[in-house]
Symmetry: C4
Subunit: 208 residues, 4 copies
């Protein structure tokens, strides 16, 4: 019986990390392409007006997405660092993750263009959910396939999983408030992302 391709394909963690860094770098920089320079302005006052009304409203979704990409980049990096090696299945789990990363500039532009519509928030949340789901699947798979370093204790594995679940529940709750008002949902999401980055030592989030 001939040797099968899948036995030895896709086992380099280094190249997976390199591809991921590339995709994140391009996605982060493409976000800003959505910020268009106002073309016609006859006076300083005109330009200020255009910057405040055309550019400024897009800054919030843009900054939130940059934060989001940063958070998930750190999350993925932390996982990859804890793996001993890759397998073909793990590679494809992370390629799905990168697919969700490449969609982020689209979801962000949709939210920036149609902030008042709940549908935009739903699409954005779906994107966020996809990112978290794939990272959770990756962790679970790696755990069962015994790809995680021994230094990563049971406690640390649990911490990684718990963090994903807690944040996904909070994302869903925040996004749901768009039933009341989409700006409220947007504000709550930004607050969650800032909390994730700054990581205060108090409250329920401390345990996440």
């Amino acid at each position: 019986m001939p040797t099968r391709y899948h036995r030895f394909a896709g086992s380099s963690l280094d190249r997976l990390a390199a591809l991921s860094d590339g995709v994140f770098a391009v996605a982060m920089t493409l976000l800003v392409l959505d910020l268009k320079v106002p073309s016609a302005a006859e006076s300083e006052h005109d330009l200020l007006h255009a910057l405040l009304h055309q550019v400024a409203p897009r800054l919030l979704p843009y900054a939130m997405s940059f934060l989001t990409l940063g958070i998930f980049w750190v999350g993925q990096q932390t996982q990859l660092e804890s793996f001993t090696r890759s397998t073909r299945a793990l590679t494809w789990i992370h390629l799905s993750f990168l697919l969700a990363v490449t969609v982020m500039p689209f979801s962000t532009a949709l939210l920036a263009e149609h902030t008042t519509f709940r549908l935009s928030m739903a699409v954005y949340w779906l994107n966020l959910f996809g990112l978290g789901l794939v990272l959770f699947v990756s962790l679970r798979y790696a755990d069962r396939a015994r790809l995680i370093r021994e230094e990563t204790t049971e406690d640390m594995r649990a911490a990684l999983k718990r963090r994903i679940v807690v944040y996904q529940v909070l994302y869903a709750l925040a996004a749901l408030t768009c039933v009341v008002n989409t700006y409220l949902a947007l504000g709550l999401l930004v607050a969650l992302q800032l909390n994730s980055v700054i990581a205060p030592q108090v409250g329920i989030l401390d345990r996440a």
Copy 2:
């Protein structure tokens, strides 16, 4: 007689891998630029309508191309991992491969814009064929120039080559069904790519 440039130029596998990761990362992220955010929408219903009619039909070609790029990225990585070093000729074979990768966003956009035309499918298939052909040439060249690691047994080399040939034959057959209907061809190609990723253990494909 003076030393010739070609004796020592282009022998770094690491930089070839880094350039490849960069080109794949940019090509994968550029695919999504083809997904335009609907600009005018007066109600949630309008936006939903625009997303379903303008964005959704493009998702299938887009997802298929992401799958395709992922498959060929894994394929190229597997090859590069099995080489001991590069030569100038091997470098140029892989630069041709990257040329075919950069054309993928164009072929995808053509297929997404003109899905009902057989010509779009022909161009897309040609792109797919180019990717496979160059990887096959790379493998054959590396085999003859004795650039493949000893750990990669005859069986594994045969498996790598067989996989390319089997899939290329199947791609060609799938693309040919566009004579009947281009959506049938598109569906078959997506099925093939999904099969390549999920790799079930049955049927003729098991041996590939």
Copy 3:
């Protein structure tokens, strides 16, 4: 008490460097997208006219931004090389730095499109200030958190900080001359960046 995620997340300097190289590479190449090829030209003379009047005026802001990105890339690289490891906080400081890098193509396009307006210069300067500020914060944090290699003496640390402060003061003074004339401010900034690159051995800048 469960192990907290923040204890072990985000500690790879290599991936931080790789992401940074990716973001800088994309931002540097995106700058040139602002240089549009003149579309209609009926004679060589028409084309020359279009190149001189539409493309040439954009070359100065474009070249200045490339210089700026180069300077800050060298600056960040020098810092990262002097660190022993990363922490989650340091990672986020550098992600903020990369956020300022991704905004550079926007600030440059704004300055190229509206060179005569002081507001454009103010936005550009703010971008420049952000880059310097974050690098300064990074150095201060790393110093206190004892992340700097022992080979990096007190003198070298002071040299790194002094350089940032001296140049930021000069940037601010140069940008302020836009009250008189924006082209004067632009010229002074270019002169400062060229000085930073060429690094002559004379005057007050020698000590920076």
Copy 4:
């Protein structure tokens, strides 16, 4: 006297290589953005017509620029591999090289849009000349600053320099034929690039 920044800044060859790979990857992939998908086509015949008349003429400049970027990527890689370390000056020489790389998509688009104008060819040649000039300066500087590995013999250094000079003379002669006809110049340049890649063992070019 305080320690000066320039003594220790910018000495990592690895990050210089990583940034270069990123810039080349983005520039190579951006070239293809110039290939626009024909938007309106009512029949297969219409689409074929549009592909042949709008897309096909752009393929030649596009492919030539991909070849050119590949050639200079191999050239730069060969140099960097032969250096023992970098200095701040060498880093800036290579940043100038990358500046010339980022301009390539613009020069290519100009040549594709206005192929019949000698001015486009002049701009393209200037870009090509800039790439060669900076690589030559890099080699000369590294030689004098004793940054080249001992394994790289005098013969090899001479071969590297000779190759740049011979090709630059041939590029200039080819570009000059645009006085007769720009398509002739374009054809000769493509022939030269193909020769550089395929590297036949005959004639004067054998010694380059």
